[in-house]
């Protein structure tokens, strides 16, 4: 029985990893027809690095991701504090509004923002892409900061002010350090959501501005290209190293204590 259970997990892992493994393998394949193995090559990587479209798309993805994450973290933290200070009634109303984008499917969010930009007469492009990413990231930041605020001892800020701190000092010295883990995980979540997004970007970009997702989509629709295999390999390697690095410490301590599991950071 125990064997069977392990075999089952193994099979699921094979299902999840086999396509990726093949993709990586064939990114080193020196043959135009993907099917046959024509020997080892780094040709596709060289072509990838020389491809202006892909490189500029990568730049867009990264810069939009960072900017959107920073802006939505600021906005979301401010929003969470505002929500925290509201009275019960308005807070519930606001929370439902903030929750809406998460209930909606991505298509609806993308389409609705596209209509907004059209109505405002804004030419779609880099700015609209950034605004759209901020729009769908903020709710995630709010919802990751808010629980932290709720855990906060309300007397702490008062105590700070009693001891002569201005409200702003009280915020920087007392409240912010306490909610920092929430702010940080909100930032990471916003960053990953933005980098991974395709649907909303698809509807809200224009004037030739294209991120990596959109570029991959256009290329994949035209057919398979070994260059995309090379790109996938690089991305997978980065993700693998990053995630292992983040979790290594936790995993070392993990041992057999089950409690640790919850602390593994798996934004999903």
């Amino acid at each position: 029985m125990k064997k069977l259970r392990k075999v089952y997990i193994g099979l699921i892992l094979v299902f999840l990893y086999a396509p990726i493994a093949l993709l990586i393998l064939y990114s080193f394949n020196d043959s135009k027809s993907r099917a046959a193995w024509g020997g080892f090559t780094l040709r596709w990587y060289q072509e990838l690095l020389a491809d202006e479209t892909i490189l500029s798309a990568l730049g867009t993805t990264l810069s939009i991701g960072l900017l959107a994450a920073v802006i939505s973290t600021l906005l979301g933290t401010v929003g969470a504090i505002a929500l925290y200070q509201m009275k019960r009634g308005p807070r519930h109303a606001m929370l439902s509004v903030v929750n809406l984008p998460m209930l909606n499917s991505e298509v609806v969010t993308g389409v609705s923002l596209m209509l907004l930009f059209a109505a405002a007469g804004v030419q779609t492009g880099y700015m609209t892409l950034l605004l759209a990413h901020v729009a769908f990231c903020v709710p995630y930041v709010v919802l990751s900061v808010l629980p932290r605020l709720r855990q906060l001892d309300p007397h702490l800020a008062e105590a700070a002010q009693d001891l002569g701190a201005t409200p702003l000092q009280g915020f920087w010295r007392v409240i912010l350090p306490d909610i920092m883990p929430g702010v940080f995980s909100g930032f990471i979540m916003a960053l990953t959501m933005s980098i991974d997004d395709f649907v909303v970007s698809f509807f809200t970009t224009g004037s030739g501005v294209s991120n990596l997702s959109i570029t991959i989509y256009t290329m994949a629709k035209r057919g398979i290209s070994p260059k995309i295999n090379a790109l996938s390999t690089i991305i997978f390697a980065c993700v693998f190293i990053l995630l292992i690095g983040i979790n290594l410490q936790d995993l070392r301590k993990d041992g057999r204590s089950k409690k640790k599991v919850e602390q593994v950071r798996i934004p999903y």
Partner: protein, 321 residues
């Protein structure tokens, strides 16, 4: 903390502009259509062209289209073509969700058991592929399954190597190239592959939190492992199952990417039609009406799940036997 309205106002304003207004816009576009005003061209005495409207007024400018409130978008939606698409989207999403549940529940259950010394590590391995761009994940299946793809080339190689295998396949009526892609099954495969982890995670989180002493008590009171699973683990895991179902069903019913890549445009879903209305067909009004439909479907689905959640909530007094 000092109450501070200076924060609430800008945030509320932001939420209004970027959340409420866009949704209202979808509503407005959904219940309106563009209509051209009927007119006839007339030549004036001085030879210039003017336009006569139906009520007899004459203008010098060509009449523009006008936006009028109409239910025709919704009428168009219940045409058999679109109804069929909606049903197919629902069918594919339901099948995908069920497959993910059947495959994913045991994974969550096994990982929360004692078979693995480091469940966190295994869980991370299960989640890791999700960190890759989902277009790349879908694309990896395309490169395996396409007509001149990896799987077909392996089968061809096998056929050349083993004539008996080749003869058997030919007997079965299998052609030289097997077409794996561009049908419903391929779309479902793509969805299951992309969304499986969304099912595993919430179920795992819930099962992991079940108080171990409950299971011990069940065993002490003579329940077989099967019985204690049915009476303890299963009821307690329902909230996780419901969350997993939502996280798989909602993207599955609205995707247009997987259906376009794995289905090659041959298996259009409701998401494809929406995307089309905002792209090639460029009928934003009909597209908005379809978006409203999708919103209603998703909300109705979640409402139904919420009810189950409330009914299935484990009783406070634990009745084990």
């Amino acid at each position: 903390m000092r109450k501070n309205r200076a924060l609430a106002v800008p945030f509320a304003l932001w939420a209004f502009i970027f959340i409420v207004v866009p949704l209202l816009m979808i509503g407005w576009y959904g219940i309106t259509v563009e209509e051209s005003i009927p007119y006839t061209e007339v030549t004036m005495e001085d030879g210039s062209t003017a336009f006569e409207l139906e009520d007899g007024t004459i203008t010098l400018e060509r009449p523009q289209k006008q936006t009028v409130v109409s239910l025709s978008n919704f009428k168009r939606m219940i045409e058999p073509t679109y109804l069929k698409l909606l049903l197919r989207s629902l069918k594919i999403a339901v099948i995908t969700t069920l497959i993910c549940l059947v495959l994913g529940y045991p994974v969550a259950l096994i990982l929360s058991g004692r078979d693995f010394k480091r469940p966190a590590l295994w869980l991370m391995l299960l989640i890791l592929p999700m960190w890759m761009n989902f277009l790349l994940r879908t694309y990896s299946w395309m490169s395996i399954l396409e007509n001149s793809g990896i799987l077909n080339s392996w089968i061809t190689a096998l056929r050349e190597q083993f004539p008996a295998f080749d003869a058997w396949l030919t007997n079965m009526g299998v052609g030289r190239k097997i077409i794996f892609l561009y049908n419903e099954n391929a779309v479902i495969l793509g969805m299951v592959y992309n969304y499986l982890s969304f099912m595993i995670m919430p179920i795992y989180t819930v099962i992991e939190k079940i108080d171990g002493s409950l299971l011990e008590a069940a065993a002490d009171l003579g329940a077989s492992p099967t019985k204690s699973f049915l009476r303890v683990t299963l009821p307690y895991s329902i909230p996780g199952v419901l969350e997993g179902v939502t996280m798989v069903f909602v993207p599955a019913v609205t995707t247009f990417v997987i259906s376009q890549l794995m289905g090659g445009g041959k298996v259009p879903l409701i998401g494809d039609i929406i995307q089309n209305q905002f792209g090639k067909s460029s009928d934003w009004h009909f597209g908005s009406a379809l978006s409203l439909l999708v919103m209603v479907v998703v909300l109705a689905f979640m409402g139904a799940l919420n009810r189950i959640d409330r009914e299935e909530e484990p009783q406070k007094e634990v009745r084990i036997l």
